[in-house]
Symmetry: C2
Subunit: 161 residues, 2 copies
Amino acid sequence: MLTSDRIRVAQIAEQLLYRKWRFGTAESCTGGGVAAICTSLPGSSRWFEGGLVTYSNAMKVNLLKVPETVLETVGAVSEDCAAAMARGAQQAMNCDVTLSVTGIAGPDGGTREKPVGTVCFGWAIGKQLWTETKRFTGNRTDIRTKAASYALVKLAVYIQS
Amino acid sequence: MLTSDRIRVAQIAEQLLYRKWRFGTAESCTGGGVAAICTSLPGSSRWFEGGLVTYSNAMKVNLLKVPETVLETVGAVSEDCAAAMARGAQQAMNCDVTLSVTGIAGPDGGTREKPVGTVCFGWAIGKQLWTETKRFTGNRTDIRTKAASYALVKLAVYIQS
């Protein structure tokens, strides 16, 4: 686990505790990596509610209520899906703040429009919602690690704004 | 991530694919670490359905249907809770095979009966169910890492039996 990730989580935790907000994650390609970073911090149960690793489309639909039309039209790796995952996570876990990650970690699964390394993110704070698409380079581990870090970097920014 | 964990996951994946079984995790103290190890393997979407990081008791009750009486009597760190988590994960994620981890990673939260390092596990394969309690030593990271590895070591044994 990267030291910079731990520092970021400590910053996020401070804001969540100060505002009495509960936090949860909805992850696909990072596979629980963001939740694992968050809970590496002692005392994280004071602000970390839980995480949903919705690896299959069925889990995205059943647990996060991602509309099937989103999966059928723009696909699971899309900002629409990331937005629905972040909103669904707020509902499913009764959280004030959530983040979502859905992407293609590789080595297979890439297409011309969505090459390996394409990752879509969602961040929800109360009624506010942000989404973003990034392209990361490297192997499967690199892409997953970079995606998890980025999800936390941007959450730290949004939560202080 | 430990190399031995990756090897173990590859063994488990082979069995899951051969038997056409879907797999899911229910984690508390490991916080998504087991799911992250599983999904580090390329192609894991062919057998990994998803994971529920039920860090709060509310999530254990709402998503995994752990009976509140279990939490009130023997507590979240108990084989009864681990068993209910593994069974609840089968239901919630429509999985054939699940594992659960619930424990005290520290540094706080330990008691005389359940010191820091106490971790309860559950493994469910179809109608079969196994539970076990272990005491791991070391710091928070050590305990979480050892617990995640142990969950996979025993799953590899049970799935081949």
